[in-house]
Symmetry: C2
Subunit: 337 residues, 2 copies
């Protein structure tokens, strides 16, 4: 039976929604969950949910927390915080995966330094599967590594390839490097140095992807440094919200439009489900020794349950074994500079 440690004190709706998510995960997925955080607060929610005696749930007390706005590095000194304790449970083998809706930078920090990276992985990276009309595209890295070297991007490409193949079921994923302009030789220094290395790998490397390809469905994996990936991810999310807000404002002005919106609601909700990446249960830090799943700060119970499910999928598919094998086999010696 899989055991997942969940940081119950991180996220905008902690601990209530997180604890409720753990209850869902235990009941619906049958995983054993270690609920890490303030015991009293956690038990209060468990009681409300009539889950105090749920055999798959176990509370691990951690008196401190890391706030959303604190510098991420504090978590490494705050060894009694729910996030650090949860990560330590994974490192010590008491849990096989970690889920947190907390301070993203802090989750990254414990992922890298407490759970730790696979030996073959130079830098763990965050891959996110973004929706497009034809399916999904993995954008990697979206924030774990700010200044990258070409060899890191080559590893990210293999991580993204493995994610697309093992978790999303995409055969021989089409890999691109994010750039401006399609032709080889276009882009910034990092792209120009990485391109020839990617050509030497055994990946299905199609060359440069442009910004528009992130949502075009023409690539299955797009590689970029974590600075670029992070601003794109956050800009995309905020564009979505801005569009929704602006459309709502227009709709308010006319009762016909309000009626129309009402009739369209089921269709819009279907779309939202497809587009909303919290539905898929958070974003994995690829390359960590055990699954570390970062959910949105606004994660609700369902998102937490889905994040636990994703952690389970990484374990069931032996993702890390495949990743290590791919890193060895797909990158030839000459592309490891």
């Amino acid at each position: 039976m899989l055991t997942i440690a969940v940081d119950c004190m991180g996220g905008d709706y902690a601990p209530r929604e997180i604890v409720k998510g753990c209850v869902l995960a235990a009941r619906e997925l049958g995983y054993r969950i270690l609920l890490v955080g303030d015991e009293e607060q956690i038990k209060r929610v468990l009681k409300e949910e009539k889950a105090l005696n749920e055999p798959l749930l176990e509370v691990v007390h951690a008196p401190e927390t890391v706030a959303m706005n604190e510098p991420p590095s504090v978590v490494l000194k705050r060894k009694d915080s729910s996030l650090f304790v949860a990560a330590k449970l994974v490192r010590e083998g008491k849990a096989e995966g970690l889920v947190s809706a907390g301070n993203t930078g802090a989750v990254l920090a414990v992922g890298k330094f407490v759970v730790g990276a696979e030996n073959e992985v130079e830098r763990p990276a965050i891959g996110v599967a973004l929706p497009n009309p034809k399916g999904k595209t993995v954008l990697i890295d979206v924030g774990a590594n700010v200044d990258c070297k070409p060899k890191h991007l080559v590893q990210f490409a293999v991580m993204g390839h493995t994610y697309a193949e093992s978790l999303l079921g995409i055969k021989n994923p089409r890999v691109g490097i994010l750039s401006i302009g399609e032709e080889e030789g276009k882009g910034n220094e990092l792209v120009k140095e990485t391109y020839p290395l990617l050509k030497q790998t055994k990946l299905n490397f199609l060359g440069n992807a442009e910004g528009r390809d992130i949502y075009s469905g023409n690539f299955d994996v797009i590689v970029c440094d974590g600075f670029v990936g992070n601003v794109i991810l956050k800009a995309s999310e905020s564009l979505g919200m801005a569009v929704l807000h602006m459309i709502k404002e227009e709709i308010k002005k006319s009762w016909l439009a309000r009626l129309g919106a009402l009739l369209m609601m089921p269709a819009l909700n279907n779309f939202r489900r497809k587009a909303d990446f919290t539905e898929y249960g958070g974003i994995p830090l690829l390359g960590a020794k055990k699954p570390v799943i970062i959910t949105h700060g606004r994660a609700n119970a369902k998102a937490i349950k889905n994040a636990v499910r994703v952690a389970g999928e990484f374990l069931h598919t032996n993702f890390n074994d495949t990743l290590v094998k791919n890193l060895k086999e797909l990158i030839p010696q000459e592309a490891r500079v």
Copy 2:
């Protein structure tokens, strides 16, 4: 009377839509337009539009073109191309501004090397006013400069400030630098080096902006290098199209939703007008000696007319004089490293 040179052979709908746009510009704005390109083709459209004898329109023959997929640098060798000839008309003072829907890189090339930059400007940059629920945010640079130094970003900030103040009417624009994380010290090397310089300027510098701020309305100007800005701009556009496509697919599945969409159409069209940057008439290359306006490749007649209008606004507001003054006054000597 203002004279604007329009490259009639660039863009997906050239020459028809471009020529029609020139006719609209002459008739509605009262500007003199030099229509540059294949004389025969241009006159055929003018005839269809009953504008052959329109006194404000003048055809300047240029036998060659630069295709959308050609390397931008070819334009500098192809001196008989419509784009090069149009730029030369500006350089020689026969026109006061340039509009093109053609190969963006090629327009940039003639903007930089034929029209040329103001002496005080190290590198012209592209600024785009993106819509948000509260108004507009100028993102600069979105593709003219791939690898930038801190001093370039400082100049971009002043260009964006001047654009926001002079063209968008925003008083004391709030300026940010695009980064990951809000606090000073967060970001990549370029951001970390640029931040202290921006603090020394007399701009209303608020610090780091995150990806989500591009559409949040919390900043009036956001500075980034042209690589990052370009991928964000293209990703945003493609996200918009992907969302539209995915919503349409959902709507097709239900007649109630189809009816709803019909009722909402006027509201959606209002939104689209606000969101569609072609409505505003293309994107300026800031810092060039004369206005160089790049429109979308898919620009239609209305977009071309609007681009001519924008070129006129730059001239009417003496944008370049203000920009040069601001570059001198807002950047202290110690921030010019």
